[in-house]
Symmetry: D2
Subunit: 384 residues, 4 copies
């Protein structure tokens, strides 16, 4: 009897962070993959991860619409509750032997709570990291619900143990997203036209003289300020006067403010060297980064994959505060001048040294092997 491993993907970024593990689970002789796609991962507006997942050849066992309209704090809570209800039904019908939940977005608590309440051994990917905002609370709450912890860094594992988890349930697997980065490094040249492949808004811009990539999400605990924050980044980047590829943020409380800031900037400034994209397939996005001068914003990609790839990063504001980082990152405030300064410093320095901080590129297979081997248990106590 193969172990049935149910993986719940709830967002575009989470898919990138689990994809090589999905492949490894699917091809493992002792495992059966049960893939569930839910939340913003089924919504066109947030990049329609479902489309990419199917294009990658994965069979999807169930899809669940669970995101409420409103993009505010109330709807984040309600979407999570709704997800918990429906995922319980999904698990009751699929009867998995283990459930995997990924990272720390608000709706991941739905997966974690449903599985742990149903006595299904729960694996949490990417626990033990420290950032800011509600993600922080969610991530550690999921740690306390999970039976196994597959972390990205040694320090993360250490934190999970200090929170009272037993050492034999904590594994530093590295992040599967680094596996994709490792693949990209084998052929890193930009071998596709981003504008013809992904469309987007605005005229194509000339990438030959170098370009920067921007990806800035709203911060849920700074909900009211998301518009003000995005404006600083918009003008900081504009003043750098480089070809700019700007990516739309994910669904989250506050992204209406972020979106509105971007829209008004476009109407007012009609920036000719800006192009706006929604989402790229993960390895295309990494290739784009590999060939960029810098990534700006507050995405974790800048901290994680870009440390592995050696891409210079300008990290704006509080969203990634506390997260371990390599030498590729310059941290700045929500301030257009600091942002501009950091971009210029990176331009003068160029590419950075690569680091294995977040993984060695073999996480997917390592995870599948662990899933086939660890004991199936769902009871635990504090280690102290």
């Amino acid at each position: 009897m193969k172990r049935k491993i149910c993986v719940v993907v709830t967002a575009r970024p989470s898919y990138a962070r689990i994809k090589t593990a999905l492949t490894a689970i699917r091809s493992h002789p002792d495992l059966e993959l049960q893939l569930v796609v839910a939340a913003s991962a089924v919504l066109e507006r947030y990049g329609d991860a479902l489309k990419y997942i199917k294009a990658d050849g994965f069979e999807v066992k169930s899809t669940v619409f669970m995101v409420l309209e409103g993009e505010n704090l109330v709807t984040s809570a309600k979407s999570t509750g709704l997800g918990m209800m429906e995922l319980a039904t999904v698990f009751d019908n699929l009867k998995p032997d283990m459930v995997i939940t990924i990272a720390d977005r608000y709706e991941t608590l739905a997966t974690a709570a449903a599985a742990s309440y149903m006595n299904i051994p729960l694996v949490h990917m990417q626990g033990g990291e420290v950032t800011g905002s509600i993600d922080e609370k969610v991530r550690h709450a999921v740690t306390k619900l999970a039976d196994y912890h597959f972390t990205c860094t040694e320090i993360a594992s250490e934190r999970v143990r200090r929170m009272g988890e037993h050492a034999e349930h904590v594994y530093t697997t590295g992040c599967p997203s680094i596996d994709i980065a490792a693949d990209v490094l084998k052929a890193p040249e930009l071998d596709f036209n981003p504008f013809s492949r992904y469309g987007g808004v605005g005229d194509p811009v000339d990438l030959k003289q170098g370009y920067v990539v921007v990806l800035q999400h709203p911060v849920t605990t700074e909900y009211e300020s998301s518009r003000k924050h995005i404006v600083e980044t918009l003008y900081g980047v504009k003043d750098a006067n480089l070809a700019t590829l700007w990516f739309w943020p994910n669904v989250d409380a506050g992204s209406d403010g972020t979106s509105k800031g971007i829209r008004i900037f476009r109407e007012k400034e009609k920036p000719v060297n800006f192009h706006f994209f929604k989402n790229f397939e993960a390895s295309d996005f990494l290739k784009l980064l590999c060939n960029s001068k810098s990534i700006i914003g507050n995405s974790s990609v800048a901290i994680r994959e870009c440390s592995f790839l050696g891409v210079p990063a300008v990290n704006v504001g509080t969203r990634q505060s506390g997260r371990e980082r390599g030498s590729n990152v310059i941290d700045v405030d929500y301030d257009r001048h600091q942002i501009l300064g950091a971009i210029q410093k990176h331009l003068s320095t160029g590419k950075r040294e690569r680091s294995n901080l977040y993984g060695d590129g073999k996480a997917g297979v390592r995870i599948a092997d662990l899933l086939s081997e660890v004991p199936l248990h769902f009871e635990k106590k504090l280690a102290y």
Copy 2:
């Protein structure tokens, strides 16, 4: 402007554990109480806490039906999700300054997640304790979502800090349930007739020669075994041949097994010295315990209030394992012989020394004062 303190009561036992704090909040000059009653606390079948709450003169701002039928693991998960959705709406309409969630039942995660996702400072009562079962996971997950921790014991506070909570957010307030016990101790005689006041099932039994009280809940991680476990207790107690006052268990996955075990025992054995009750008003229950020879089962009352009252307790099985205990407790397995032996030992020894392990009887006022004084914050990071 008074601080609006929203307290969500979801079960009979939780009401007993917060009642003196509710009174203190209501009469505090700087606080306004917003009381929400939900889950099994609105269901007649589980003791109808709502009725007692209204009888105690509290104004109830909102009631929420949220428990799904089935009493199994799936429905526990779904009820919690449903509660999260509806409590988000309640909080959105009441706009509290702080929310209080109590202890560790599965549905308390609904309150905790809704409040923390909505950036409302969350206070968790009774964190840091160690037991078994799903409660363990829920309790510590709520700790990671909460901004303030009002614990019952020094060791519990220490555990909360070790889990990474900042010391300045952790207060050892003691348990408000001990406040009621302290009140009962001022006039501990059994001054009411339990049968005429609370009805119940079975003929009245003669309490004059001494009696025992039994309260045994199903254990969610031992779902399948709940019927076998209750049978051991039923026969262990029967063999002690004492007047027995048996209390019906709470709603929880597995209580159908527990209930069925009890019903079949009644049909088969027609026990003449057993009487079955649903629920008592908290102080009546404590008076009943004060005058009993022993409490048997796996209720936390046996560990907490009874240590303060010095009532001998036979603690059966795993549900309270890990919880700190006074000298009044004898632990036994799910085994009728061990249970009988422990009862007999207690009968030969009599009352035990009182202990302040779980509180000094002044928790309610202490909590209200803290609620009026602590800063309103909802962001946090691991302390390490």
Copy 3:
């Protein structure tokens, strides 16, 4: 490509009313059966239809817990809403070509609304009947959502057309429950021991001198009176002094009052010739009726199957008012004297003439054939 026919069974009685159609759909060369079991049909407390469905060899595609605890009007509404949400997900994953909803219980609106909102052609079984209570509103609302109407009687079809449905979408198929009755009539003797097969509560009673069967549900619009009503029936039947087989009511607002009335009667009267059952497999129940002196209560079985079987029926109160009936029925008020009088009249008269009012015993096959032939449409307008 076979047409995928999704049938949602939400209660024990509904299963009996669709079973022969399920068999016919399953074995039809152009149809594929997608069976979903939900609501009280998955709950042990209400007869656990799921167990019988599986025992009958049907594959169940999905099960959904959706009934909230409380058994009151609020929880009926909430359960229906919850069901609508979850069934939408189920339909989205199963992608049926047609959906079938059965009869008029509150939760059938969930199936009907989910399917019609999703542009899936909806078939309603048993529309056009007239009773009382909330069922009346639900039944006709479902008619207005449905694309096809498979009714039991000619008068029902006529009513559906008068409500504005187009004649070409209305078929008088007869009720599949009559198919089972027709099968039972082929070998109607009581060839099993009800007590050993179904257990129940109370000592076995002697059936040799004749017995009556009682089945009385609470009436949702007379919520407060359900206990008073059941008491009249209890004493009316008791005074008849016959062996009595009493069946527990379904989940519905008010059944707590009904249940309480029965429990108190048992405690007080300790009736020696009463035996209480939960639920029988449908054909066993019909056999029991075939051999009984009379059925008493307000179940539709007394009106429908019993008219086909010729079993004398005492119909109590308003629940079936308006429903077409054969000559086997005597209608009485909630009054113990009238009930007793009607029982005695039936005893003196004996069995009645059989009637094809509700079907000819071939409904199941007729329904499957229609499902394979009718056009798949989901748009409609009032016929006037």
Copy 4:
């Protein structure tokens, strides 16, 4: 004791259709207004009716987020189910004597079902009309759940009676939206600048030479075609070469297609005499219509208010098919040439005769009086 009248507003258009009744209820000596705002009425993206409601001075008892992201058929069903659950809780806490639901959008079934299941007398506004699409099913299903019917036209009342409703529960009150139109007619000149008051997208256009107004919603049963349909209207209107004020559609399955069509048209054609608005305050919108050359699209405003105001209307496609209309309407297919032709015909003819088809301008007060006088009943049977 005043009668508590709970009105649930779930969309911008519904607010316009109930507003004068709200005012009349609020000021009626025997009535107390309990206003609940939910669904798209609380979402900024769909016009934020809540803001206008508060600006109009109404006290809002409860707000409910209940719309799921996705704007497809699955999410329409799920949003309705979610609304039914939450509105049940709202009604359980507000304890209204009557509930009012308005018109026929998918989510109005949530209000209707929750109220009728809870035995609260339900008033349905605007029943008995005939259109196309899912609205048709919803409207008549709500009729079958409702206890009172306040219709807009005599023919609508006749249809409601033919569906089996008792004549004494059916009142032709006229539509409250006509009350606003009657008020506007007292001072119909365009006394505000639409661009400065409402912003919108695109440069201001010159209104002095005459302008047209466009409002076209997606049709749920023609989900896949919504983009193709909007394109015909876009080019038909463009070819008329008039100043064009285009209003964004409501939330509904398919509006993503509609929105996308509009966005691509704008990018491609960069139309200089088009301006895009989201929503206007109702009387401002009517003033704008009064002074327009024509309204184009498939909004019911073109049929209802514009017949009263005598504004020429081009009605495109199936959405309003079956609805009674005055002499102001020209019906056309989804065809740019027909659309252009109808606009040109209207331009040559000018304003039309006014009609009282949908009301006499006194509906609000009439409704409040009825609400204070009709018996409170919640049981009904088919009239035949």
